[in-house]
């Protein structure tokens, strides 16, 4: 695949945590690509590095987290990009949806002010045009009484409405790439279903490329063509979602699939994951000189990390 068909191309990306006692890599050797107008799910449990990977791409890492390697957005290198250029991209061509609207949005500023912030920064629209655009955006994400909502504070809306507002904000400048970090985790299942459908619909209608970060394989199965599974800061498997769901190649992917109870399954006990993610801080030597194991292509476009004996035994 040539680079001009790629919205995002990540190569050997790492994120190193600097702390008073030393440093350790929280993400390392991460490779994946996201084709234009396609969807990729980045899946893993707490501490797997999925959010750090997304934050590194979005340039939102805290000061003690140092990214290295490469992440190209339509060919342009994002890692180490000058701040001014980054600001020009963020919010305009790269949109971000956070997990918790309550903490990501300002509690006191009216929604209209927050929703038009990107438009003020990145477009030359007049105040009236921005207001009109804001109403369109709210309609686009399925909200009604949009005039009222623009004057509301975030606390006056329900959880589902808040997440819709955040999605509206993320797509306000018609970005090419939308990064959504656990956008449905805080929602009830029925709302989750609506938000998943909304994201899928927007992705198709606007031709967005979507990078979805989640711990929920079910959500990935509903939303993403491709999936990359992260474990302990590395990708252990990636490929087409349907294929990986049917024939997981890595023990960890398999364990993740098996660990969730499902409706109608008759199991008395759930298999526990022997390979539960280590605290990277405690296993720094694990991440020492020997970099991550290579990924092997087990079938076309299906990559699985070489497994050491310990993992095979698990």
């Amino acid at each position: 695949m040539t680079t001009d068909t790629l919205a995002l191309s990540v190569q050997n990306l790492s994120v190193t945590v600097r702390r008073p006692g030393g440093r350790y890599p929280a993400v390392r050797g991460v490779d994946f690509t996201l084709a234009r107008s396609s969807t990729l799910g980045l899946v893993g449990e707490s501490g797997s590095g999925k959010s750090l990977t997304a934050l590194a791409v979005a340039g939102l890492l805290a000061d003690n987290l140092v990214p290295a390697g490469s992440a190209r957005f339509h060919g342009e290198e994002l890692i180490g990009m000058p701040e001014a250029r980054r600001r020009a991209l963020s919010g305009s061509r790269i949109g971000f949806v956070f997990q918790e609207p309550m903490s990501a949005l300002h509690p006191v500023l009216p929604i209209g002010v927050q929703l038009t912030e990107g438009l003020r920064a990145h477009t030359s629209l007049t105040r009236a045009q921005r207001h009109g655009r804001a109403q369109e955006l709210l309609e686009l994400v399925g909200l009604t009484k949009t005039r009222d909502i623009l004057g509301n504070r975030i606390g006056q809306l329900s959880g589902g409405m808040r997440q819709r507002v955040m999605i509206a904000m993320a797509i306000s400048c018609e970005p090419d790439l939308l990064i959504a970090d656990e956008p449905t985790t805080a929602l009830d299942v029925t709302l989750q279903k609506q938000v998943i459908e909304l994201l899928g619909g927007l992705q198709e209608r606007l031709g967005l490329s979507l990078l979805l970060i989640t711990h929920d394989l079910g959500v990935v199965a509903q939303t993403c063509e491709n999936v990359a599974v992260m474990y302990a800061g590395e990708i252990v498997e990636r490929g087409r979602t349907d294929q990986i769901m049917r024939e997981p190649g890595h023990v960890y992917t398999r364990a993740l699939l098996d660990a969730s109870p499902r409706i109608g399954d008759a199991r008395r006990r759930l298999p526990s994951i022997a390979t539960a993610a280590p605290w990277l801080r405690d296993t720094r030597e694990l991440a020492g000189a020997s970099g991550p194991a290579a990924l092997r292509e087990v079938s076309p476009q299906h990559w699985v990390r070489e497994q050491d004996e310990r993992e095979d035994a698990a």
């Binding site: 299942v189 279903k193 409706i263 006990r269 759930l270 526990s272 994951i273």
Partner: protein, 271 residues
């Protein structure tokens, strides 16, 4: 079989709005259910359906506006003083957020011993021994005793919370979303633990969850709440196989499903 817990038409109204203006919100509008000894009852519903309020009334953390709650055949609705303290020994609660529910300044020994202190049970030396046994039951080493919650992962903290809930040897555990803050692998371990403890100790659970697949795994009987009312109730197999209400069907349909692959554990777990 006589019921361990019987809730009869409980109603809870919360005062809302500015003080003195008597505006109320009906969070629970007349719920009745019963839990047999040694069984698990799952209460599912979305945010705001009133399931947590029901749980809190059962644990006597809030008082019903009207209705009756009977525990082991005795009316416990208006209990106060010594009687209430006695009742509290039989019903313990496990909360959703193990980060928020454990005092960060207390050691695990202090956390587990606190219920004994409140109820004036056991000597100092005895407490340490008993706490060690409890930790063992929930799969933690005795070395945890002197450590503080910050040193543990989410799953370990939930184990500590369960050990603390078991300290008074309760007969009913009210668990309010006990696994929803946990990763699936850790969730699996905590769910297995809760089932094991039930088999070992003959516990009953009132298990509150928004997750129908988790509830199916743990519970014998399930009630579905919507806007303060119990809209459907039934035995596990019956409710999942043939839901009677549209709302239950909607909830079941909303679960993002995984393509069916063969599940590990099916072969070993079916015995």
């Amino acid at each position: 079989m006589s019921a361990l817990l019987e809730i009869d038409d409980v109603v809870k109204h919360f005062r809302i709005g500015p003080p003195l203006r008597k505006k109320t919100f009906p969070a629970v509008k007349g719920v009745s259910l019963r839990i047999e000894a040694g069984t698990s009852y799952g209460l599912v519903g979305e945010s705001g359906s009133g399931k947590t309020t029901v749980a809190r009334m059962v644990a006597h953390l809030t008082t019903p506006t009207s209705g009756r709650i009977r525990f082991d055949g005795r009316d416990v609705t208006g209990l106060r003083g010594r009687r209430l303290r006695e009742f509290r020994q039989s019903v313990q609660m496990v909360f959703q957020d193990p980060y928020g529910a454990l005092n960060p300044r207390m050691t695990v020994l202090e956390l587990i011993s606190e219920p004994w202190e409140i109820h004036g049970l056991h000597s100092r030396a005895d407490r340490r021994r008993r706490a060690t046994t409890l930790l063992d039951q929930v799969g933690l080493a005795a070395s945890a005793l002197e450590r503080k919650p910050v040193e543990f992962s989410g799953g370990q903290r939930q184990r500590i919370m369960i050990a603390r809930a078991l300290a008074l040897e309760p007969r009913l555990i009210v668990a309010d979303e006990p696994v929803s803050a946990l990763d699936v692998s850790v969730q699996a371990q905590v769910l297995n633990l809760m089932k094991d403890l039930q088999d070992e100790l003959g516990l009953s659970y009132l298990f509150i969850s928004h997750d129908l697949s988790v509830v199916e795994f743990v519970c014998d009987r399930i009630g579905v709440m919507l806007l303060g009312e119990l809209v459907e109730e039934g035995a596990r197999e019956e409710l999942y196989r043939s839901p009677r209400t549209q709302y239950t069907r909607t909830l079941l349909d909303a679960i993002p499903s995984l393509p069916t692959a063969t599940l590990a554990g099916n072969e070993t777990g079916a015995e």
